[in-house]
Subunit: 277 residues, 3 copies
């Protein structure tokens, strides 16, 4: 809504912001655009805490009549988000796994189903869950640095991407590319990601935010209501599929993550990451 | 069928034509190809009368054993068709809205489900319903004039394209491009439309009809029966979806178009169009 | 599995091979890669005998823990496979048609649903059923010879490709390209096939096997289990559709092939092929 209700006589606050531990949000009320910055070093991994904060931030913006669009980017150099936090899947209780997976689902349902315009300004690498965040936006702009890569690389870790990661991916790049990329667990360097349609546009890193703002302005030039209904029409089938199979999907995750072989390979992977630092 | 039944002794009419108010049809019996020209100035808008004539013309050709393919083009300069006639949606009765929407559905069911080869020779701009007509053909050739644009731009008017417009669009350009284009209500200039796959081919305007005839000849070189069954196999799911939800779709249209906010914005749009003249 | 069970003391056989009449298979146990060569001159047509041998070979490899991937190619110059053997569809009994069609289905179910990595090294033309074999693999590399063509050209013969041919095709090239190509019964020369996405890569003919081996090594670098589950997730819907309609699909084939008009056109086609020799 272009003109939010204001008590008479009070000046319009030019900017509202809130920030918790992991994500910083600034809403520019004049444009109706919120800037959401992931600031959870070293790699913006999607921990339970991060996901909860992410969902709450999205919900707040969704319910804020002054907000019409959100640009999602990272405050951490070189990384957009490294994806799901593996420590949440390692040596924890069934209850924890359940809570964690529900939080992953919740984040995606809110983001993919958001009625706001969502633009991902991918200013660093974005594997696995990080890629899902970008795929769930309406538009993806990526810094044209070939050192930055993006993809659903779960298969590389011996993990299978959930069906709704796959559905989201297929909606963006089509069946053939999704099939190959998912089976190979490919991480596509920015230029390749652009060629495949995984990101919509590449720009020099220093122009990324400027471009994201321009794209957002283009999308906000449309009346909200028709755009929102159109978005729902396009995404409903895939959203409904998770809603219909949510508990089953949680059970699958728990069964999978509880396997000793998976626990072992996740532990090995974490050891490797620690040594790398 | 190459040799239609003829009373013995009568010479074979080389050409049959019929024309009502809005559409001119000429069938060349030697080739089996009908030329269908929209001639409803100023912009070939899809009024109830136009749609009715369009459906009847398609039905006639469909039932004419001498006809195997139809080329659809415009006799009005610079415009293929401007889409649904807004005056049919403004200040009319429920009965009228019902009749009008049923006519829109009927046209699409006949055209998208036609057993004839259908080639769109898009010789001008083709927004909204005009784009749907082109999308529903088997092949789209467009004049390579960048001033001509095509797209489902309903969102620009605060309107949501019906699900079967969307289904037809997705079948042509895929999910990602359809999602973005529909949300933005984009009108793509001919070169961009070609790049997106929205039209299959661009040719200089003066070569358009020649090219359309050549493409038609290529398609008619195939035996009809197998081609028709193949077409049905490809399009049946999307056709069946409207058939199954036809009354519901009419109700949705009426509910939508009866809203005061929509009536208001349609009236404003018509005023703007009038002033432009 | 990298280390197959071996009786202690016995040396590991470096290579296992088996060959029947139509197909030669060599399994390199060190790499886990089987080379499957069609050797049924003149054109590797998919006869009942060929299909049976094909399915049995796939089953053997599938059950061999030493085998993780298979490269499919032709030992016959200039032709990968000419597709279904028309003599199997001409002047035979209902029982024969049933047996034949079940064998076609069986081959596809095994190949499209294979848990192995499947790479098609398309070293010659590949119409109709030959194209289906290539489409059913995980990756398609084609010799970049423009004289070699590939496509589902059934419509050219007055035949309709079965729905599961179509589903496989749509999964590879998308709806628009599939619709046009199937209706026209197009045979795409290698460069065009590559442009359409029908094959993933073109290489000079003399580099084809080297490239296929390199691609296979890339796919085998991934852990099998996650890759297999991912593949199943991508292909299950289309596989299940045939499984659910298998008997109906056989009936359709019999009804179709038993028509006198079809028998006549198949006989004419066979005569033409004989004269060509």
């Amino acid at each position: 809504p272009p003109s939010p209700l204001q008590p008479p006589g009070l000046p319009l606050a030019p900017c509202r912001s809130f920030s918790n531990n992991k994500i910083q949000v600034e809403l520019d009320e004049s444009s109706g655009v919120a800037m959401m910055k992931f600031k959870s070093p070293p790699v913006n991994s999607l921990s339970l805490e991060f996901l909860t904060e992410f969902s709450i931030s999205l919900e707040k913006l969704e319910n804020d009549r002054a907000c019409r669009g959100v640009i999602i980017t990272s405050a951490v150099p070189k990384i957009f988000s490294s994806g799901l936090d593996i420590t949440e899947m390692c040596g924890k209780s069934m209850e924890h796994y359940t809570e964690f997976w529900r939080a992953v689902q919740e984040m995606w349902l809110r983001l993919y189903g958001s009625s706001m315009v969502t633009v991902a300004a991918v200013n660093g690498s974005s594997p696995a869950g990080g890629c899902l965040v970008a795929l769930s936006c309406d538009y993806r702009i990526m810094a044209e640095n070939p050192k930055f890569s993006i993809g659903l690389n779960e298969a590389q870790l011996g993990i299978v991407a959930p069906f709704w990661f796959k559905d989201t991916f297929v909606n963006v790049v089509g069946h053939r590319i999704a099939e190959r990329s998912l089976q190979l667990g490919s991480l596509h360097p920015a230029p390749e990601a652009h060629k495949l349609g995984l990101v919509d546009e590449l720009v020099p890193e220093e122009k990324l935010m400027e471009k994201a703002a321009a794209v957002m302005a283009q999308w906000l030039a449309l009346p909200d209501h028709a755009r929102q209904l159109t978005k729902t029409m396009m995404r409903k089938a895939v959203l409904d599929r998770l809603v219909a199979h949510r508990e089953e999907d949680i059970k699958n995750f728990i069964t999978f993550v509880s396997k000793e072989s998976i626990q072992k390979s996740l532990r090995m992977y974490m050891e490797m990451l620690k040594k790398r630092k």
